[in-house]
């Protein structure tokens, strides 16, 4: 009953979808804060209560409350038929979820980390992504594959790979990478409601981070559009694109650069596929310089695609070579100091931005 009411509200709210900043209403001045973990949990909770066809499936999502506690409390609330603890069978349960999606259910499949999704990648790509095309629209797959992606802290090579580039190269998938709590809530809700397969790449280190959220974000019908990037910080001198954890690094780098008179524009991609090429290109046409930042391996990465896109569409506007910052081209080492070297740090982004601005020494003047 409540779900029906919420669905009607959804229809109306979608008409006013804009990123969170809303000047029309004034709420109490004390901003609310929410961790990414709570944001994901609340999004799952609300979508599951709104639509009975949504169910969660994965290892340790039920009684253990989620390997990273994302699904805390959901088992008690919705019962074991809707929050399923699976055996350790990624290929099996990913395929089961796709089969359920063929018949109209809306599974949310949790991979404990996306590294384990490689065991199920046949189903993500071959049955989920390609089915709608192969069946000419008869079998749509409204499924969400979610879980932590990328490097954590000291977990070694087999637990640290970033899969954004792999999944984003495949037509038929939508790939989302939230950064803040607002992103997490809005994009997960959009992903669950979306009639297509969505790969939802979270980040373990962001789960505990707290962000301020407006009341609009907390509303149960809040939803963000898929395929639209967000300009986290407006600037004039250099465009820095980033997703997931790197957005935080890029924002810190922008603060450092500001002291040196470089005004960086930071774009939070939010959606790797479809990539918001128009926002990126519009930004580069304004600033004339581009740095892409990502955590994954450099070859064939997300940054490679962005750079190619900008060179194809906005070449005449570039004042400096495009640059991509990525993880080191090695499997992730374990030793803490080596791991720090293998993942981009704030200083790397700062140095790259200065290179793009042809300033290797800080100047006082603004552009």
């Amino acid at each position: 009953m409540l779900g029906v009411v919420r669905k009607k509200m959804l229809g109306q709210s979608l008409l006013k979808i804009r990123p969170a900043v809303s000047v029309l209403r004034s709420y109490s001045s004390s901003a609310k804060h929410m961790t990414v973990r709570d944001a994901l949990n609340s999004a799952l909770d609300e979508e599951m209560s709104a639509d009975q066809k949504v169910f969660l499936m994965g290892e340790e999502v039920g009684e253990y409350q989620g390997a990273y506690k994302i699904s805390k409390g959901l088992l008690e609330k919705y019962g074991p038929e809707r929050v399923l603890d699976t055996p350790i069978t990624e290929a099996g349960f990913a395929g089961i979820a796709v089969g359920a999606a063929y018949h109209g259910l809306k599974p949310v499949v949790e991979f404990m980390t996306f590294n384990f999704s490689m065991q199920a990648i046949d189903h993500i790509i071959n049955s989920a992504a390609k089915s709608n095309y192969m069946s000419a629209g008869q079998m749509s797959v409204p499924i969400v594959f979610r879980g932590p992606n990328g490097a954590a802290a000291g977990v070694g090579a087999q637990h640290s790979q970033c899969y954004a580039a792999w999944y984003a190269s495949c037509p038929g998938l939508k790939v989302l990478t939230p950064y803040s709590s607002e992103d997490a809530r809005g994009l997960l809700k959009a992903a669950i409601r979306d009639p297509d397969p969505v790969v939802f790449l979270e980040n373990e280190l962001l789960y505990g981070e707290s962000f301020s959220v407006s009341d609009e974000v907390l509303d149960s019908s809040f939803c963000l559009p898929i395929g639209k990037a967000k300009i986290e910080r407006v600037g004039r001198d250099v465009t820095i694109t980033a997703f997931s954890k790197m957005v935080g690094h890029a924002l810190k780098a922008a603060e450092i650069l500001e002291k040196d008179g470089i005004d960086a524009e930071v774009i939070n991609l939010r959606s790797i596929r479809p990539l918001d090429r128009s926002t990126i290109n519009a930004s580069v046409r304004k600033t004339n310089r581009l740095i892409t930042a990502e955590e994954g391996f450099p070859q064939h990465g997300v940054g490679a695609e962005i750079c190619a896109s900008v060179v194809e569409e906005s070449f005449a506007y570039l004042d400096a070579p495009v640059e991509r910052i990525a993880g080191a081209d090695v499997p992730m080492p374990y030793a803490a100091n080596l791991e720090r070297l293998a993942v981009p740090q704030v200083e790397d982004i700062v140095r790259a931005a200065k290179r793009a601005c042809y300033r290797s020494v800080p100047l006082a003047a603004a552009a």
């Binding site: 229809g11 979608l14 008409l15 006013k16 979808i17 009975q52 066809k53 169910f55 038929e81 809707r82 699976t86 055996p87 069978t89 290929a91 099996g92 349960f93 990913a94 395929g95 089961i96 979820a97 796709v98 089969g99 359920a100 999606a101 063929y102 018949h103 109209g104 259910l105 046949d122 189903h123 071959n126 049955s127 089915s131 709608n132 095309y133 192969m134 069946s135 000419a136 629209g137 008869q138 079998m139 749509s140 797959v141 409204p142 037509p171 038929g172 939508k174 959009a190 979306d194 009639p195 297509d196 559009p225 898929i226 395929g227 639209k228 479809p274």
Partner: protein, 432 residues
């Protein structure tokens, strides 16, 4: 014998492994070279495992299987397993499968069909025996050898032929092809090229049936799913993962193994440590049945029981059908590794000839009635070819369509609504 699945019910020549070990069998066929201790002991294992179907602790529910069939057996007339209408339906379906596949071979060599085409000749009894017992809402999941499963499930021959020709009137508008037959209307969920890929999908479809009943409270949802796959698949990890989960969650699914003894050129005996696939069922807590897949009536009896079990909510069943494909793995396979004597042996057990013999000998149908069906099917297949020939190829705009159910792929359009809510969204909305 107390169990209905006793050796008395099934022909004594239904166990290929017997051929290597018993000397009493009159078939000259010897096709299994290995002479391991294990193989020699299989006849004992085979017969005893039938009678012990219900003794394994883990498959306690199996007792219900043999009991129910036993009761039915005592009530029905001793000789006739089918009525005349059923018999003609089965015959027509098998002849359609055979004629269609033969026509596919012809069309392939004329260049009308291309790519990978895997034909089903010889295995018709399995498809007909199982699928003709299903309702429209029951689901079937298959592999790349899926033309006949599609036809048995009710997809029109015209739609399948057009799909194979790559025309826009095909069941998947020419976008799937031979290996990817899908039909929402007939609940044919594919058509998968990767072996083992369809099994989790089928398990998911069965999961949905249970979910609909228990969570969405659609009280009479008792839809059953059949998963068809081959002997090679039974060594694949996904197979075992799904046997486990289907049994764990008691899903309404029947796993049908079409054991035709060959995976391209790899003999089942060379690839499998324990070649008796039906034994893998009880290891996961479900009954495992072996049946002669060249006899449609036997397959049908076993299928009735297995599907009935699933519909009643008693859980999955693993059915191994011993069958054979008369042609090669695909039309590109020269088929040099199989012993001609083995092929002759199975050709003599052609399921269509066998059913024809049964129908005529038991006076269920006359020769002329069966010939009329043959003629009718020939016409249907000819018509399908003509239709496919005359159908148009897909228009260029179709290339970019149907990648997403939400075709713009942006989730929300410029008017703030999802594109997929636009009633005209399936009409040529592709944008370059």
């Amino acid at each position: 014998m107390s169990t209905a699945f006793s050796a008395a019910n099934f022909s004594t020549q239904s166990f290929p492994l017997n051929h290597t070990s018993t000397t009493t069998h009159d078939s000259p066929l010897v096709f299994a070279k290995p002479t391991s201790q294990f193989l020699r002991s299989t006849p004992k294992l085979r017969l005893s495992s039938f009678s012990k179907l219900n003794l394994s602790r883990r498959s306690g529910t199996v007792v219900a299987v043999s009991d129910v069939v036993k009761q039915k057996k005592s009530k029905s007339t001793p000789t006739l397993l089918i009525t005349k209408e059923e018999g003609l339906e089965l015959y027509e379906d098998m002849v359609l499968g055979r004629a269609f596949e033969d026509m596919c071979a012809q069309m392939y060599y004329r260049g009308k069909m291309f790519g990978f085409v895997h034909l089903y000749n010889g295995q018709e009894a399995v498809s007909t025996g199982f699928i003709k017992l299903l309702k429209q809402q029951d689901s079937v999941v298959s592999t790349y050898r899926d033309h006949v499963h599609a036809l048995s499930k009710g997809v029109p021959a015209r739609a399948v032929m057009s799909e194979l020709f790559g025309k826009t009137t095909g069941c998947c508008r020419g976008q799937g092809g031979s290996m990817h037959m899908f039909s929402r209307e007939h609940n044919l969920l594919g058509g998968f090229a990767f072996i083992g890929e369809g099994i989790p999908i089928a398990t998911g479809a069965a999961f949905t049936s249970k979910y609909k009943r228990e969570v969405l409270k659609e009280a009479d949802c008792d839809h059953v799913t059949l998963a068809f796959f081959g002997d090679g698949t039974c060594n694949n990890g996904q197979f075992f993962e799904c046997l486990n989960m289907a049994s764990l969650w008691k899903l309404p699914i029947v796993f049908v193994v079409e054991n035709n003894l060959w995976a391209i050129g790899m003999s089942h005996l060379r690839a499998t440590s324990d070649p008796q696939i039906y034994k893998k069922g009880p290891a996961f807590g479900m009954p495992g049945i072996h049946v002669d897949g060249m006899d449609v009536l036997k397959v049908r009896e076993v299928a009735k029981e297995a599907i009935g079990r699933a519909r009643r909510g008693e859980g999955p069943t693993l059915v191994e059908c011993e069958t054979y494909r008369f042609r090669g793995h695909s039309l590109a396979d020269p088929d040099e590794l199989r012993d001609p004597a083995e092929k002759a042996h199975y050709a003599a057990r052609d399921p269509i000839t066998a059913l024809k013999k049964y129908l005529t000998e038991n006076n269920l149908a006359s020769e002329s009635e069966l010939k009329a069906i043959d003629k009718k099917i020939d016409e249907v297949v000819e018509d399908a070819v003509e239709f496919a020939d005359e159908s148009p190829v897909p228009p260029r705009s179709q290339l970019l369509e149907n990648v997403f159910a939400d075709p713009k792929g942006f989730g929300i359009g410029s008017d703030g609504r999802y594109r997929c809510e636009d009633p005209k969204f399936t009409q040529g909305t592709a944008h370059v």
